[in-house]
């Protein structure tokens, strides 16, 4: 773009911020939507490295990222407790849903809770594709199985060990069920023949956090940039933009920063 308003755009000393995040924020299109505004407002460009949740945290631990945007509350807390992070803030949330064949062979619709829904899947041994990768989604799925007092095992339970998108695609290929986050689902759903079979359980809450990596870990960390990103994302402007991002007419993420 042309430098129409050079005076309004700040020029930080170290203008590149490196964000390690999970694939869901990148692939849902949220980051592509909000980051240009961030650059406009602050002068920072963000290098987005989209990886698995665990890998994102590991990159933070190794100081290879300046700031993280992830969704795995327990691991995030452990990360902070170990002193790897400087500051953690809630940013936004969406929810998990159970997807499956449109015909819904296990009859999940109208289940009282997610645990009940899972129980029905296990009862008819309908194919179920699990993330199996210790991601936030996987941890949540295991919680639900625990709540249903079921240890999933057998040929119907496919522990896939892949990313959210791939698991949805596999569930489609196998005509089975899967637990998915709504953001990724909305982004991918047109490529599948699946439908949402269960949603709305308060237990299926999926919160995202932004963590600035402790600057003391390495001199190369762009601490100012990380802070700027974290503050901007939790500012009224950032929160407003998150709320305004829609895909196919649907809101994907709900801002929830509380100072």
């Amino acid at each position: 773009g042309k430098e129409t308003a050079p005076a309004t755009r700040p020029t930080p000393a170290n203008p590149r911020v490196r964000l390690a995040t999970t694939t869901s924020t990148e692939n849902s299109g949220l980051l592509s939507y909000i980051l240009p505004f961030f650059t406009e407002d602050t002068g920072y460009t963000v290098d987005v490295v989209a990886v698995g949740t665990g890998a994102a945290l590991k990159l933070g631990e190794n100081a290879d990222a300046d700031v993280l945007l992830v969704h795995a509350r327990a691991q995030e807390d452990a990360f902070m407790a170990a002193g790897h992070g400087a500051d953690r803030r809630d940013v936004m949330y969406n929810d998990f849903i159970v997807i499956g064949p449109k015909s819904d062979p296990a009859g999940l619709k109208g289940s009282a809770s997610s645990a009940v829904a899972f129980e029905r899947i296990a009862t008819v041994a309908a194919p179920f594709v699990s993330r199996g990768d210790k991601s936030g989604t996987h941890v949540k799925e295991l919680d639900v199985w625990k709540a249903a007092k079921i240890t999933p095992a057998g040929a119907w339970y496919k522990e896939a060990g892949q990313g959210m998108e791939q698991v949805i695609i596999m569930a489609d290929g196998l005509q089975g069920y899967a637990l998915a986050d709504r953001g990724t689902w909305i982004a991918v759903k047109d490529k599948t023949s699946l439908a949402i079979c269960y949603e709305g359980d308060a237990g299926l809450f999926n919160p995202y956090g932004v963590i600035t990596v402790a600057p003391s870990k390495n001199p190369a960390i762009n601490a100012e940039g990380a802070k700027a990103f974290s503050s901007w994302l939790t500012s009224a402007r950032g929160q407003g933009l998150i709320a305004s991002y829609k895909l196919g007419g649907q809101t994907l993420f709900f801002p929830n920063y509380k100072p």
Binding site: G54, G132, K158, G161, G173
Partner: protein, 223 residues
């Protein structure tokens, strides 16, 4: 390194199972890649037909196609809505083996062709003058170039053992079913378990090393 040894020696049942599965897939897919690959390489070498140049370049170029594209390509055939969907190969061992064979076959052909290239032209002339037909010439030239052929087979084995894209895409990395060394490694890497991933990489290297040594016993370098 120590972790790699610990993983295996410690008798982690799942690691051993994964190693065995990887080997099984690789051996079968290499086999299925050799069957068309070696004769194709030999035919490219012996043949004097139009479009030979194009064929050679094509076979060479296929190496640049990412494994995930090969995976997608095969996927379009074996997916439920694909022509071979009824066979139910997707997300099962059959799918992985088929995909890996499709991946390795041009490699085998290209490397066989290149290797045979350096064979003394008097061999094929002698075959011709003694009246060998196309089939005999092919088999004889494969025999003369067996050292080179084994090298190309080893390379193919290495390639399928080490690739991730096809195994992920067509096998689905399903635990106790289609999970291989490489998909485990990819999973570990995505989980941030970098040390474990590296250790498993070393195990893979050790396996490949062993296979290489064994093959040397079978066909000795005759220099």
């Amino acid at each position: 390194m120590t972790e790699a040894i610990a993983l295996l020696a410690g008798g982690d049942r799942e690691t051993w199972w994964t190693v065995a599965t990887s080997l099984r897939f690789s051996v079968f897919s290499t086999l299925f890649a050799i069957l068309p690959g070696v004769p194709l390489g030999a035919t490219l070498f012996l043949g004097r037909f139009k479009g030979k140049r194009v064929a050679v370049a094509l076979v060479n170029a296929v190496m640049a196609v990412p494994t995930v594209v090969v995976g997608l390509f095969v996927y379009s055939f074996i997916s439920r809505s694909g022509p071979l969907g009824a066979l139910g190969l997707l997300y099962g061992p059959g799918g992985v083996i088929l995909g890996q064979a499709v991946l390795a076959f041009p490699l085998v052909a290209a490397m066989s062709y290149t290797g045979l290239q350096k064979l003394d032209p008097r061999y094929s002339e002698t075959l011709l003058t003694l009246g060998a037909g196309p089939w005999r010439r092919m088999t004889a030239i494969i025999k003369e170039g067996r050292y080179v052929i084994v090298q190309s087979v080893l390379a193919a084995f290495g390639r399928v053992t080490g690739e991730v894209g096809v195994s992920m895409m067509l096998g689905g990395n399903i635990r106790w079913y289609t999970r291989t060394m490489t998909t485990t490694i990819a999973l570990d890497a995505s989980k941030g378990e970098f040390e474990r991933a590296l250790s498993l990489g070393l195990v893979l290297l050790a396996i490949a090393l062993a296979v290489n040594f064994l093959s040397h016993l079978a066909v000795r370098d005759d220099r």
